[in-house]
Amino acid sequence: MGTFLLGTAIFILATVAVGLARILRGPADADRMMAAQLLGTGGVAALLVVGVVIGEDAVVNVALTIALLAAFASITFYKAAAGGSARDSDDEGQP
């Protein structure tokens, strides 16, 4: 069963790696951010599987940290894309 679970973790990481092609293809920055978000979610899933299979609690903590960092990455992306005036929807941040 452990072998199957580790194989599943590798499979999830492989699908995430294929999804990262969206970073190369773009076309917009939002699409690239989505691929990074996919890396966050898939990385959390793979790390949780590995942490439970090998019985190491520290790996679960790493997964928790990655989940938190992915959230901050998206919020930072939005702040940068909005040109620092996130609340004003009439203001054109990028003319």
Binding site: V16, M34, V49, V60, A67, S89
Partner: protein
């Protein structure tokens, strides 16, 4: 009982991996940013939830299992907020040009 739990883990984790595959295919194949976002956030958070659900029988302590569920909950909240923000940024970008 152990075999039943193993079967449960097998089915749930396999389904989770399938949803990750579906999310990746959607991210690569869908035509515009909003449909890609739709595929990515929903499929991946569901896949993560199924993986966590499948791992729960293999956790030995109650607090360990609760921690896995809380990590999934954090990922759900973060995914919901992030998808709104990314869609907002994509919308503004599309409307501005």
């Amino acid at each position: 009982m152990s075999a039943a739990l193993d079967l449960f883990t097998f089915v749930a984790v396999s389904a989770g991996a399938f949803f990750f595959l579906a999310g990746t295919v959607g991210l690569l194949r869908f035509p515009d940013a909003f449909t890609r976002l739709h595929a990515l956030t929903k499929a991946d958070n569901l896949g993560l939830g199924l993986v966590v659900l499948g791992l729960l029988p293999r956790v030995h302590s109650l607090s360990g299992g609760l921690k896995l569920v809380l990590i999934w909950f954090l990922a759900l909240l973060a995914g919901a907020v992030a998808s709104q923000l990314i869609a907002g940024a994509a919308w503004r970008r599309g409307a501005g040009e």
